[in-house]
């Protein structure tokens, strides 16, 4: 019932807005299209009886590779109390979704479908923040896959970013898709923790990213 206008630069608004980006990246990203939060303009939060807390917002979103920026409206519902589960998101960002990366995606797909050896890569970015240009689409794919996890795990008490892709192993498939086993590290800004996850994903230009399995891993021994 309580309905309040939030300060857009304060953390409750920022955390809710980040969730919108996880949603956009998981649904609409590609190895050549990744979205980031630009600005939060307005946020209104309201308790919804028996559901949770709903944030309605005006934000701007930037596509990272092409630098296109679009202003969108979005809604995030965080479940509370009896309700469990991931936040529910709706957005109105249409222009960004129209960014066409199909030809690049096709070229990448063909290259890796016809190669004799399966891709194996580690540490994207490396300790110096470096990613080899031909590995950037796979880092990006990792970011998209991570968005599924970050969306699922987000609450009003978290703020997730993907810290690093630690390992990619391409797996053979019988069908049209490319298949990858990803090890990624998430960083939660609020707890400051580094959380490793394992993701089994498929990707193809027509279907985009599909997450077959996702599993949280125990923390790395060397980080304890």
């Amino acid at each position: 019932m309580t309905n309040e206008e939030l300060n857009p630069i304060h953390y409750p608004a920022q955390r809710a807005a980040k969730v919108v980006l996880h949603y956009l990246n998981s649904r609409c990203g590609s190895p050549y299209k990744l979205f980031e939060l630009q600005t939060v303009y307005r946020v209104n939060a309201e308790d919804v009886a028996d559901s949770g807390r709903k944030y309605r917002m005006e934000i701007s979103v930037k596509e990272m590779f092409g630098n296109t920026v679009e202003k969108c409206s979005a809604e995030v519902l965080f479940p509370r109390g009896e309700q469990q589960g991931s936040p529910k998101v709706q957005t109105s960002c249409e222009e960004l979704l129209k960014i066409n990366t199909k030809s690049q995606e096709e070229a990448l797909y063909q290259q890796y479908k016809t190669r004799h050896s399966l891709l194996s890569a580690q540490n994207l970015p490396d300790s110096y923040g470096h990613i080899e240009p031909d590995m950037t689409p796979f880092w990006c794919l990792g970011a998209l896959a991570s968005s599924f996890v970050m969306l699922a795990e987000s609450t009003e008490e978290t703020l997730y970013n993907m810290a690093q892709v630690t390992n990619i192993t391409q797996l053979a498939t019988e069908d049209d898709r490319l298949k990858f086993d990803y090890h990624i590290l998430l960083h939660d800004v609020v707890s400051q923790e580094i959380i490793p996850w394992n993701l089994l994903i498929t990707w193809s230009p027509p279907e985009g990213v599909k997450v077959l399995q996702m599993k949280q891993l125990p923390p790395h021994q060397k980080l304890l």
Binding site: N7, I9, H10, Y11, Q14, E36, L37, T39, M64, Q122, N123, P125, D126, S127, Y128, G129, H130, I131, N161, A163, Q164, T166, L185, H187, V189, V190, S191, Q192, E193, I194, H220, K222, L223, L224
Partner: protein, 359 residues
């Protein structure tokens, strides 16, 4: 005679030539491991012996020397001071990179920029390029250690985990919010306030000179934020308005450089509540202008900021830091000048009036 002079000149040029060839320029736009940073500090002191001295003010758990660069013109008098530390959190590599850049900038600027020369006369800059040396070295060990945050002291009792979060260990509302008493937690605040040698070093050095310090800047990443005290939601700094005004102006200065937005506010407002931070401790000592800088980026690469971004990140942060430092300086020194000028005018006018009356 001329031939003799000519020969000496040739010999002199050759000597200079050889010296120039042997010296390798330090690359401020790459990340450097600890031994290179230590060598760089020694080199800076050798290059600018009149204005730079190295002070050892503590030891880490693994018994490494914690050193700072004291930079300022030697006037023989007791001087006001600026504090800057980098690398309290090991994985935030852009922070030590910024401290090194900052030192280079002020040393280059004071020779040509009258304002910087004035500040060098009136102030001493105390810059610690890496505070959490053990942690920083650990992040260079291999790929799996890169994201270490805490120091490297062992956990208490039966705890098999390592490290205390140094920025939760200071004696400022210690152990209240935004911390964990679980020694395996990444925000473990230690067994008691200032239990850690690295925090103790800062506390001892700054604490014994607290009235000298105008400004305490502690450099972190990431998030693009300028944080003002306090981290505890129930406490407001007495000069909150001033801190915000100066911080917002610093953020404007930052934005002018490369267009990046830095958000200004207290931790509980713009990030999360926390306690035991060095910034809060410094403010509680009475140091008026205390800020935490969270440098680039906003999560795209996070702690592993690409080396291509070191230069722009440092340039914008320098602009912000310089604004705060200049404000602190002018408030203390130009204020006195303005008062003296006003006094002078008052005397002149009084004399004028008296003269007129007399005439």
């Amino acid at each position: 005679m001329l031939n003799f002079v000519g020969l000496s000149l040739v010999v002199l040029i050759s000597a200079v030539g050889v010296a120039t060839i042997e010296r390798v320029e330090y690359d401020y736009y790459k990340y450097h491991p600890m031994p290179e940073i230590t060598n760089w500090m020694d080199q800076i002191q050798r290059d600018y012996p009149d204005v730079v001295s190295i002070i050892n003010y503590g030891q880490t758990y693994e018994k490494r020397n914690i050193n700072l660069l004291k930079i300022g013109l030697n006037t023989g008098a007791k001087k006001k001071a600026i504090w800057m530390d980098c690398g309290i959190h090991a994985r935030e590599w852009i922070a030590p990179a910024f401290c090194q850049y900052f030192v280079r900038q002020i040393l280059q600027a004071y020779k040509t920029d009258p304002k910087m020369e004035e500040m060098m006369k009136n102030l001493d800059f105390y810059v610690t390029p890496v505070l959490n040396i053990d942690g920083y070295i650990y992040t260079w060990k291999d790929n799996s250690t890169r994201l270490w945050r805490k120091n490297r002291s062992p956990g208490p009792g039966n705890c098999t985990c390592y490290g205390t979060d140094l920025n939760r260990n200071f004696d400022a509302n210690w152990g209240t919010v935004g911390i964990s008493f679980n020694c395996c937690s990444i925000i473990y605040c230690g067994s008691k306030p200032t239990s850690e040698l690295e925090a103790q070093a800062v506390t001892d050095f700054v604490g014994s000179r607290k009235d000298d310090f105008l400004c305490f800047l502690t450099i972190h990443s990431y998030g693009q934020l300028l944080l003002v005290p306090y981290g505890h939601p129930n406490f407001t700094a007495s000069n909150y308005n001033e801190l915000m005004e100066v911080g917002l102006a610093a953020a404007e200065a930052i934005k002018k450089v490369h267009g990046m937005n830095y958000t200004v506010g207290t931790s509980p407002d713009v990030l999360y509540p926390n306690s035991g931070s060095s910034r809060d401790w410094a403010r509680m000592q009475g140091i008026p202008l205390t800020y935490t800088f969270e440098l680039r980026d906003k999560g795209q690469y996070g702690f592993e900021l690409p080396e291509e971004q070191i230069q722009p990140a440092c340039e914008e942060a320098y602009s912000g830091a310089l604004h705060i430092i200049t404000y602190a300086h002018d408030k203390t020194f130009n204020g006195a000048v303005a008062t003296a000028a006003a006094t002078l005018w008052t005397v002149v006018l009084a004399v004028g009036v008296t003269s007129t009356t007399l005439m």
